[in-house]
Amino acid sequence: MSDILIDDRIRDWVFLPIIIVMFMIQMFRGLLTKYMDNKKTTQKVTSKAQVAEMIDKNITQQSQRLARLHGLLPDHSFKMKRAHLCDNKSGILTKASEKPAKDPMQSMSMMNPAAMADMLKQNLSGIVFMALQYQWVSYFFSGFVIGKVPFPLTQKFRSMLQRGVDVQNLDVRYISSISIYFVLLFGGLQKIQQLMFGDDTDEFVDDTQMQMQMQMMGMPTMPSFGQQNDPGKLFIAERTRLEGVKHTFELNKSQDKAIKSLKRFLNQ
């Protein structure tokens, strides 16, 4: 199969415009998410169930933080905090773990309207743009060959890469415009965008905060989150974890660590 000569005008009016437009839309999406993040106001707590839920979340956050950062506290301080949470009679975790399991139907009402609106907006900025671009590319730029992929592929890829081009014996390497769209989509225009307009603010996100955000976004996947059905188990797990923590105050070790690292430094 001899080489196909592709017109210069295809490059000027199809190839480069697709790349430029997709890149612009990607940047626009980034700006849009930033704008919506700025616009997000704090949610007003409206019902008693929500208050109880916030209290539970705060309790788990507090116990997780204690379990993670216990080295920063001196002995008596840590023991007091742990007793406050885990005491047999009056500890917060013991009291919380005696709550009844929540009804699954009731926990659906956790999706207050603001959270749903947030999720809708996220989906909007993601999927709608993808569908829009696909429609645009396949409407305007279908029916001809746009380029060639550098690596050999099997015949199975023909239907995906050569949509709209009905020449049977054409080398699978020649691709139509939709495949350039897919290559750009999966290849990660995001990474290039992050390189160029670097994300300095995202680097210091706290771990628990990320986890909480992920849990908020994961609410539609109901069965996988045991905490929505039985918060008691979660608190019991937290309590056993806290009680099992072997606490050492890091300041006690710091002299030895300093000696070691200074020795290493001086020996080089």
Binding site: V149, F151, V183
Partner: protein, 109 residues
């Protein structure tokens, strides 16, 4: 109070600095795969040779990183596997994209 003997391996990882390091490494890798894609595309490499160029440039980036760190990986990353070899698959798609684009722009269109 009795103080336990501390070995150097007991030193804990400073989380923020590790995050900074891994972010920087990620940026480096993206630059590396961009360059590899441009080289492979402009020189008109075909098929498996192109992927070989990607692996070669990836290893060159890791080697430069090792020289910059004076081969003391433990001070900057969790393990040498993490620092040198871990992200090779994730940037492959980026490399493919840049390769296809530049190959088409320079050689075919």
């Amino acid at each position: 109070m009795e103080e336990p003997k501390v070995e150097l391996d007991d030193l804990e990882v400073n989380q923020e600095r590790l995050k900074l390091n891994t972010n920087q490494l990620k940026n480096l890798r993206v630059y590396g795969s961009l360059n590899a894609g441009m080289i492979a595309g402009i020189l008109g490499m075909d098929g498996w040779i192109g992927i070989g160029i990607y692996v070669a440039i990836f290893l060159i980036v890791s080697a430069c990183l090792a020289i910059k760190m004076n081969f003391r990986v433990k001070e900057y990353f969790k393990s040498s596997y993490d620092a040198y070899y871990s992200g090779i698959g994730t940037d492959l798609l980026l490399f493919l994209m840049i390769w296809v684009i530049f190959h088409n722009l320079v050689n075919i269109l």
